[in-house]
Amino acid sequence: MKRREGSILNIILILLLLVGLALLPQVASRFSIYLTIQILLLSLLAMGFNLLFGYTGLLSFGHAAFYAIGAYAAGLILKEATPSLLLAVLVGTAVAALFSLVIGFFCVRHTKIYFSMLTLAFGMMVYSLIWKWRDVTGGDDGLIGIPRGTLSIPGLLQVNLHSMESYYYFVLIVCLLSTLFLHRLVHSSFGLILQGIRENAERVAFTGISVQHYRLLAFIISGAFAGLAGTLLPPLENTLAPAVAHWTKSAEPVLVSLLGGAQTFAGPIIGSILFLVIKESIVRHTEYWLIWFGAILLVLVLGFRGGIVGFLYENVLTRLRR
């Protein structure tokens, strides 16, 4: 009975959020829509990342690599081959998944700091590759003039995404479907095994499950979602530069997951919202934003044990139920 009240509250909150998101372009300015798209992209990247971090217990410091690979693959398709958004998103995600397979193959043999350092190294390798491979990536000037493309399924659908509003809906739908998929995934037996690996890999291994295979699979799915988030970036910005592959970008999903709560499903989403909204508000008031931003994040991460969602869940929801 008590349990049901919690889930009803959950459902109400989610419905409110969905209605809000759906109606946003009716009330918000073009800039707010743009900022919301950025929040959606960061949430998607962080949710993918958190499958590995929060659920499997592997801290990757190189997820910007997959984000960037997805972005560059999509950007190149849109710019050089065909302005088909769907194709760019699908191929970009597939390329990112392929790279995750190769890089993950080497990384999942290790855990803890060794795993983190390896992912950092691979991440910076991808960064250098993008920086140096000027004929394809445009070096540090990047890819310029990437069209947003059209959303077309031959014989079925043809949508012009030129306006910010229509692109927003496209990103929103992709993100909602991904969230639904990831939610099902972490609550499936696959997700339970990943959590088992996080808690005690040896015990899981004794049940006859190949820990490495599961870790690799989690790595690939995680990288694919990071790549998917990346594919949505070039149509938004129309340009793409190597900064998206830098380790400072890899730090963002780590931070937002910690901020929101890595052990909760909604943590990375709430973390992303807070991260970008806080930054945006500080930047408006001071040019020395870094010091304020750092201080506020520090207080939030240290003050809310288990992240904001985790903290609220522990302290507010449980108290409400009592």
Binding site: Y34, I144, L233, E237, T239, A241, V244, E287, L290
Partner: protein, 417 residues
């Protein structure tokens, strides 16, 4: 005093009435338009530059210049009667951050103009979204030729202008100076990114045309943020170059020169060229440690041109900030004045009209006369090259003798084949 009779009075009243009627409905006569402010409320300028990290000084210098211009303009009645407001944001040298800044300024803050952009990638990324935002952007630093040649000329993005010199100054002008040197063997130690490659390529291609006898024997590329140039100097010097060309800038230019001194590079090589070597941060950073006789330039140097206008600008800048102006201070300052001149000429803030007013506009600025080329919106003006020399009046090196090449002689011309 002349008395007004009844007939005169009637005539005037009718005239005024007609004027009001016309003024509300039809095209305004010139005199009417001039008297109304172009905007209710302040004219807003959104500026962005690098304000954090090791290159944060550049953004601050640019801000000082732009701020000074806004203060001067406001005390003299504003732009076309409207007060001017400027706000700055950190571009972080990241294109996505810079695009977000631009979108915030225009869509949320209500900017009428954008100025700034330090990194080339930032200038290109922001330039790319200007048609959508449809405001005028005046670039004050980003130097890539792709901005004027590709974005403006080839893609027809008319909202973008650049008031600072492009890489032609760094590569082509350098070669025109170097052609007279008794140097046959050249080597490069330059930044490992687009700016470094492009300038070295322009330098080689131009020099080869004048001097078929020169050779380019070695190159070493230094990553962004290099603190130890030992390996780069070590890779180039054994090949015994007679001339060294470098486009290192900011703190890295300072580090490179200090370390090159330790390696005795300035005793072995006959010539050293650095198009960014006369930037105020490098001059002040090296002080008396700057070796004499090196060939350097930048995008504006505070003692050139020797005009009353420039001397007065340097004085006002010093009075306000207690510093010598950096080149980005001058470009930021002049960008604000370019906006003022264009708006007053256009008599409106309508983007298409302001663009028309800016195209071909000739502007008296501290750096001398600037003309915005119609085809690619690039400002044409002269920046000197010169050799580092000592002057008791200044705690840092100055440029003497100067060598000034007319900008039209070395700027690439449309159509950029």
């Amino acid at each position: 005093m002349k008395r007004m009779n009844r007939r005169d009075f009637l005539k005037r009243s009718l005239g005024t009435l007609a004027g009001v009627a016309l003024g509300t409905g039809l095209d305004l006569p010139e005199a009417f338009a001039q008297r109304r402010p172009v905007k209710q409320g302040p004219i807003k300028i959104g500026g962005q530059a690098i304000l954090s990290g090791p290159l944060g000084g550049y953004g601050n210098f640019m801000k000082m210049g732009a701020q000074l211009a806004v203060e001067e303009i406001n005390t003299k009645g504003g732009i076309a009667g409207s007060q001017t407001e400027i706000e700055f944001r950190d571009e972080e040298l990241k294109p996505d951050v810079a695009v977000k800044n631009a979108r915030y300024f225009v869509d949320n803050w209500g900017a009428d103009f954008l100025i700034g952009c330090d990194a080339s990638s930032v200038g290109l990324a922001v330039g790319q979204v200007m048609p959508e935002l449809n405001k005028v952007l005046i670039i004050t630093h980003a130097a890539t030729e792709k901005i004027n040649e590709d974005l403006v000329y080839k893609k027809g993005i008319k909202q973008v202008f650049r008031i600072s010199v492009p890489v032609y100054q760094d590569g082509i002008a350098a070669a025109i100076i170097a052609k007279d040197f008794p140097v046959k063997r050249w080597a490069a130690i330059s930044p490992d990114y687009e700016y470094g490659y492009t300038t070295w390529k322009m330098f080689r291609e131009t020099l080869k045309k004048f001097r078929p006898d020169v050779e380019f024997i070695a190159e070493a590329w230094a990553k962004f943020g290099t603190v130890d140039f030992g390996p780069h100097i070590g890779a180039v010097m054994p090949k015994e170059p007679e001339g060294i060309f470098t486009t290192e800038w900011g703190g890295e230019a300072i580090t490179l020169i200090k370390q090159a001194k330790l390696f005795g590079v300035f005793d072995k090589a006959k010539a050293w060229m650095n198009p960014m070597g006369a930037a105020m941060d490098v001059l002040e950073g090296l002080g008396a440690e700057y070796p004499l006789g090196l060939w350097i330039s930048c995008r504006y140097w505070f003692l050139y041109p020797d005009t009353r206008e420039n001397r007065a600008f340097v004085q006002r800048f010093q009075k306000r900030w207690n510093r010598y102006p950096h080149y980005v201070s001058e470009t930021g300052y002049s960008a604000v004045y370019a906006i003022k001149t264009a708006v007053e000429k256009a008599g409106t803030l309508e983007t298409s009209e302001v663009i028309k007013a800016l195209e071909g506009l000739s502007l008296d600025t501290p750096a001398g006369k600037r003309v915005f080329r119609r085809e690619d919106h690039q400002a044409i003006y002269e920046v000197p090259w010169g050799q580092t020399a000592e002057d008791k009046k200044y705690p840092f090196r100055i440029l003497r003798p100067l060598k000034v090449i007319p900008a039209n002689d070395y700027y690439r011309q449309p159509p950029f084949a």
